[in-house]
Amino acid sequence: MSLIVKGRVWKLGNNVDTDLIIPGRYLTLRDPLEKAKHALEAVIPGFAEKVREGDVIVAGRNFGSGSSREDAVTVLKTLGIKAVIAESFARIFFRNALNNGLPVLECKGICSMVENGDMLSVHFEKGEILNLTSKEKCKGTKLPAFLVEIIREGGILKKLRKELQCEK
């Protein structure tokens, strides 16, 4: 799993909660693609059609607040979102993202240096963000080595599998 991500930005506001990312009424859909079609639909109508593989999300404070539903992470991954950078994350979303190998980074001031559609380059291990469009730079909160390791492995279950094999 690469720790450097380059992608086009979708910019969102503060307090984008898990019900906005994927409303409860779609959680029971059995087809993951069908579920993902409804991601963020109340925030950006038609988001699922407009988003491209490799895009990244930049959000304000408290991204992913609310429910523990991991679908809030997996629908974004299914649509091809490669990273989320936010002023801050709600804790369960943050954990779920890392566990699923979706790189996330907290960066104070990110919203003021990024516009919708800009191209970003993000180095997760160093916590560095470069806006390729405006050439502005910004430093996020570096992840502890333990969490970088989880992203590098591609999620905590891959790590778990390794651990359990070692024990055998």
Partner: protein, 422 residues
């Protein structure tokens, strides 16, 4: 330096004498709860089988049930339920309640799975509810649950703790819900993010276990990881009646280190209502009085307990729900349902032309039994009024205590319950 309650529980469960905020520890899990997220696509069962672990770590420490969409409203849900039942059988899980017990948080407490000083995790953000009994209850995602199923352990970052002191005497018409909505207003939507909340103060003694659960339940709306109320005699007696296991309560040290302290004078609290679309946007009821309603919902793991149905029945006694409104009442569990039936509360509600459904989350998650259409306005006692939470994203949802909700159902608009309770 002494330890806060959250720090102490994490220390005792990770074989350490001391821990400090920011440390990462691997802690033993006492109880793990799963509901429908066991069987959804990308849910715990799917991920667990993919990982290739053959056995769960404990057949006794996992509690599994169905509560969010019961009985199944459509084929998709029926298939999820089927998958859950298959997993439970295959792995021989002992504590399986199917759809016959009620909403997970209520059931966990009633059936004695929540004990002071223990760590209890579940695939549900409202696991903070269990802090009301002094247990480290916290919500986790499906992947973390797979780790728990495999190892019985999970990593935690030791959180900083905010101390909240509830001072003063609780007025008659103020319920746990009004207190927490007031606290949430001051914390804001991320005021307790990554943090533990610990409650203190003389007002706690006057709160029932039901009321305390409402308070701990909603702390997650400010991002809290756990919402602990140090156990007192009431807690111990309550748990003793329900759990045969030896109780080992844990208390915070008197010299514990808190990142922040908040004083709340409960004697000044008025009935609170949260405006859409955030639970923390609460205001005194007078500020929103008169807003016309299409639906009132009294239920959920936040406010579907016996005390909540009692105050509902008290207000509805001898009255009728306003013609323009539908009132939906859903007891949080079968125990609550049965007790409310015996005490005559359900009869009062039905006579007032309220609709009583069997225990489930139902409209709280926009699942079934009362989802909202576009342009509709509802007042509900559940925990969240996020856009689209109860159905259409074009519906407006306000949150309140069951007293405010019941009075509003009678009037057809948001109403101060004080005139009905004096």
């Amino acid at each position: 330096m002494g330890l806060t309650l959250a720090e102490k529980i994490l220390a005792t469960h990770s074989g350490k004498k001391e821990v400090s905020p920011g440390d990462i520890v691997e802690a033993d899990i006492d109880v793990a709860m799963v509901h429908e997220l066991l069987g959804t696509s990308g849910g715990v069962a799917e991920l667990f089988e993919e990982t290739g672990v053959r056995k769960v770590w404990s057949k006794d420490k996992i509690v599994a049930l169905l509560d969010h969409w019961v009985p199944a409203p459509n084929v998709d849900v029926a298939e999820i339920h089927k998958k859950c039942r298959y997993f439970v059988k295959k792995h021989g899980l002992k504590n399986w309640f199917d759809m016959k017990a009620g909403i997970c948080h209520q059931v966990l407490v009633e059936k004695g799975f929540v004990r002071p000083g223990e760590i209890i995790v579940g695939t549900d953000s409202h696991m903070t509810t269990h802090g009301a009994l002094g247990a480290f209850g916290t919500g986790i995602g499906s992947t973390d649950m797979v780790v728990v199923f495999a190892k019985g352990k999970l990593w935690f970052r030791v959180p900083e703790t905010i101390k909240i002191v509830l001072q003063g005497k609780i007025p008659k018409y103020v319920l746990g819900k009004d207190i927490i909505l007031k606290v949430l207003r001051r914390l804001g939507p991320d005021g307790a993010n990554y943090k533990a909340v610990e409650f203190h103060g003389e007002a706690l003694a006057d709160l029932s276990i039901d009321g305390r659960m409402t308070i701990s339940n909603m702390c997650v709306e400010a991002g809290a990881k756990v919402a602990l109320i140090p156990p007192d005699q009431k807690t111990i007696e309550f748990v003793k009646k329900r759990s045969k296991k030896e109780i080992r309560p844990v208390y915070p040290d008197s010299n514990a280190d808190y990142v922040d302290e908040m004083m709340v004078n409960v004697s000044e609290i008025e009935p609170q209502v949260s405006r859409p679309p955030n639970p923390t946007d609460s205001v005194p009821v007078q500020e929103v009085e008169g807003i016309e309603l299409d639906q009132v919902f009294i239920g959920s793991c936040t406010n579907g307990r016996l005390e909540d149905l009692e105050v509902t029945a008290k207000i509805l006694k001898g009255k009728k729900v306003n013609r323009g409104v539908r009132l939906i009442v859903i007891p949080a569990s079968y125990e609550v349902y049965l007790n409310a039936l015996r005490k005559g509360y359900l009869e009062t509600i039905l006579k007032a032309e309220g609709i009583v459904e069997a225990p489930t989350c139902g409209p709280c998650i926009g699942g079934h039994l009362g989802v909202l259409a576009s342009g509709e306005t509802a007042l509900v006692t559940s925990s969240r009024n996020f856009t689209g939470r109860l159905g259409s994203p074009e519906a407006k949802v306000y949150l309140s205590s069951p007293a405010t909700a019941a009075a509003s159902a009678v009037e057809g608009k948001i109403t101060d319950p004080r005139k009905y309770l004096r």
